[in-house]
Symmetry: C2
Subunit: 214 residues, 2 copies
């Protein structure tokens, strides 16, 4: 089904953003699993320079304003930044433990670093920093992630960080899904349902939804 | 630390299998999270023919006998089979919700299909089939995964499958980890610990364990 297909062009022009059809089942999953802290985590796969997969748990930081882009934050010093710059493709795998359903969201990542030129992008990056807990902000102040730990094994000092102004290595990352695969496992195996949503292109707002075999 | 380093060769020959040093923290995590069904699931990332990442939730089916290889099962008709044949590299991301710790296991996958020539491999494949629930076996009898669903939307019929003899499309898959990244998030952020285990090669049994910054 094309959600904006058939709209007269002048009307489409005044409708710059259309909620993708997978947003509704994803919102339902987030709501039904809200008692579980892990319902806000998903696994993000990227590809390394050697063409090998990398996969890690990240925290869902909401959708970008008036878009279907999924937000996360990361450290510029992390391995995934270089991976994204060389190959922006990603697949998020989001499993909801309470309702036993999985979303696989495939698309391209974009990164908003401290030197991103757009004013609105910097405002969004600042806002993402402000919404972090003080504990979550601390890791951006720590020494290089994954570098050998100093022998003393002491806990890192808690720094007094400005909640209004992000550190330079703080990045906002956005995943623009182009295909979404939603699998429901609850109940008897033979009653499983699976839908594949296929976007026609970034920002197009036109999606096909197809019922497929689980 | 090299776990078998320094052993005289004749002794090493009688010790074909050494438990990798990450097996102990992983066993502890499995034990401490055993009340959560999702503690037996992890996300497996592979790379597609187009060089894009793919990522899905799979069920942990134990370790292969006398090895550090992690087992899962899959359908020969699934997308991942072709991906593995073209690029055997994978990264498993295993997040434990109760103890808030993550294991990332990087390595190569091998597949035991119905026409694998080794007798022991076929016995292992048969045993994996026998251990499945009847419900889990059913999906191997269903029509092509991810193909368009028939319009009637009827539940699939429950077939009477031989629990002793796997269907031809049933595959046993093994991940041989060459690097493992263990991150513990519990407690205050500044007390986080992270260890990277680096193997010297498949089946070598020699691993370095390095404390790194989280």
């Amino acid at each position: 089904m094309g959600t904006t297909a058939g709209l007269p062009e002048e009307l489409a022009d005044t409708t710059p953003f259309v909620l993708a059809p997978w947003r509704s089942p994803l919102a339902r999953a987030l709501h039904r699993n809200r008692s579980k802290p892990e319902s806000r985590y998903f696994q993000l796969a990227t590809v390394t320079a050697e063409g090998r997969p990398a996969n890690r748990t990240v925290v869902f930081r909401g959708f970008a304003e008036a878009s279907n882009q999924i937000q996360l934050v990361t450290d510029r010093r992390s391995d995934k930044l270089g991976q994204i710059q060389a190959n922006p493709w990603a697949e998020a795998c989001w499993y909801f433990t309470q309702t036993r359903e999985q979303f696989r969201l495939t698309g391209r990542l974009s990164v908003i670093t401290a030197d991103h030129p757009e004013v609105q992008a910097q405002a969004d990056r600042r806002f993402a920093w402000q919404k972090l807990s003080n504990g979550a902000r601390q890791q951006f102040h720590w020494p290089q992630p994954k570098a050998k730990r100093q022998e003393d094994g002491e806990p890192f000092a808690v720094a007094d960080l400005d909640p209004a102004q992000p550190l330079d290595n703080f990045c906002l990352v956005r995943l623009e899904p182009l295909a979404v695969d939603h699998l429901e496992l609850r109940g008897d195996p033979q009653n499983r349902t699976r839908y594949v949503y296929q976007g026609e292109g970034p920002g197009e707002g036109i999606w096909d939804a197809i019922a497929v075999n689980p």
